[in-house]
Symmetry: C2
Subunit: 352 residues, 2 copies
Amino acid sequence: MLLDKIETPAVLIDIEVAERNIQACQDYCDEHKIALRPHIKTHKLPRLAQAQIDAGATGITCQKIGEAEVMAAAGIKDILLTYNILGPAKLARLRRLHDEIKLSVTADNLAVLEGLSEAFADADWPLAVLIECDTGGNRCGVQSPQNTVELAEQISQSMGLRFAGLMTYPKAGGTADVQAFMTEAKGLLAEAGYDCATISSGGSPDLHQAHLAPVIKEYRVGTYIYNDRSLLVRGACGLDDCALHVLATVISTPTPERAIIDAGSKILTTDLFGLGGHGVIIGHPLLAVSALSEEHGNIDCSRAPGSLAVGDRIRVVPNHACVVSNMVDQVYLMDDGKVFSVEAVAARGMVV
Amino acid sequence: MLLDKIETPAVLIDIEVAERNIQACQDYCDEHKIALRPHIKTHKLPRLAQAQIDAGATGITCQKIGEAEVMAAAGIKDILLTYNILGPAKLARLRRLHDEIKLSVTADNLAVLEGLSEAFADADWPLAVLIECDTGGNRCGVQSPQNTVELAEQISQSMGLRFAGLMTYPKAGGTADVQAFMTEAKGLLAEAGYDCATISSGGSPDLHQAHLAPVIKEYRVGTYIYNDRSLLVRGACGLDDCALHVLATVISTPTPERAIIDAGSKILTTDLFGLGGHGVIIGHPLLAVSALSEEHGNIDCSRAPGSLAVGDRIRVVPNHACVVSNMVDQVYLMDDGKVFSVEAVAARGMVV
């Protein structure tokens, strides 16, 4: 299929760029002897998860059981679910997954551990549980290195569970905090007789700082495979490293200073990440995506009036690639400017 | 199905509240002799579109052909597509729809009219085209009442097309602007020999102002069926009028001041609408949804420390109901606290 046959708006993935990004990240991790466990939330495609594994990744990361189920069904054999799993329905699904693949999960509190233990008490082999640590991200996680000891004790006393190490999703720029927290926790755990088989950190913005926290044994990262405007602005990638583009058509030019495209928040989303505007328009450095409603994007042409006409097609690098993948049922995989696969986003919309 | 069997996060729709909202809006429009044409983007459910028709709506509004196709297939017979349709693939789909139902579209430029005319030149009956007017919304639309005359002439000279009136999506608080623009345009068109069969305005925030612009013959409105925090804050509804709730589970309480729920931007979205925070938590006036990542919602409990525990379930009225409907494959229709249907969101994700 040629590009001009694609109905817009559409999400295009340049496979060559994606593969280059996969390899560059793997090379970095190999160089520093860090296990790479990509987060599939960015692409939600079994094909690209497999490409990440084939390049040398140790396994993948998912946050929802639905994502893990899709990936396991597609043949991925090693999945870390970085999420507190609660409730009988989810625990039953988790147990089924555990029977099929090498599964590990995280937990940061006793209530979650109780549920896991109840569901896995009679499992043939124990479920690997990592303790989630809050190293400054202010989301989930135990608040101090000391807290990890209590949970490790609980895990090792729980039927069906096995203590497998520590996990954190740090704040941006938090590499030193990760090193400090995890080093102390690892020491306290060792004193108490618990060995951390792995210590897992993550996050795209600080990927290339991972080796500055040598306590980290594994890194989880998602966005690097596509990149996006948030990483571009941070200097973590160049425009040529952005594999995901939203293809849009100009449907109206009400004034020379304003063009309207058929891509709104229903495909670009309203994620700002602290940025002004909603994406970078490739080849039009003077234009900006200044506002979005659900089905319309406003292009500010005031610095280049009249530069777009009705029917023109433009490509937008969105602020945040991961959330764009979640908005569409299919993406167009491109090679050398041609579509070679209309790929179903198999793990899209998996909220449970 | 009982509420506690639903896996979270989940979107719940209280059908009694939705039906009450449908009726109240229909009553208002009936009282003021305004035709009501609900926008289905809010619910994306054929069942509720039919309920709106059954209550007296003249037809429905869609923005994407994919939405209209779903609604037509479900038996809806009168659809206005408030969108500039461009390109051979979309025009062919539009033509097929036109053969099945009473279809009308909008246009604001000559390029769109040329495409429409080419696709409909040999149609058995002409396609009704409304001219979109920018009355201050700064999105699509001709910029002045004078501009409508040129487009009306073009429509009436185009094979396969029929001039059907004017349409606008006004800015919030723009009722007087609509009245002024449309009155002038209607007059100019009459002088040129063109009759406006309808003049269509819309928007939830100013729904109950519609009668203050008597030039309006039809009103398009979406959010009123569910309501949301954006309308609540504007005083356009009460909390009891909010039919859509996101049901979420507390998965972590890292500190007494912070709880984490399993609903993040993948279900609540990052739409802010100028508001601080991401929703109203029902029954917890001292708590706030302070931050979202894709799969996590941070609840600020600093004004009521320790008030949530792991496993607790809460209900959130989101900032913007329409976009939440687009995030899920199914919603739970509730009556008297019980689920009576797990309804597929049939028109979800229709970006083309």
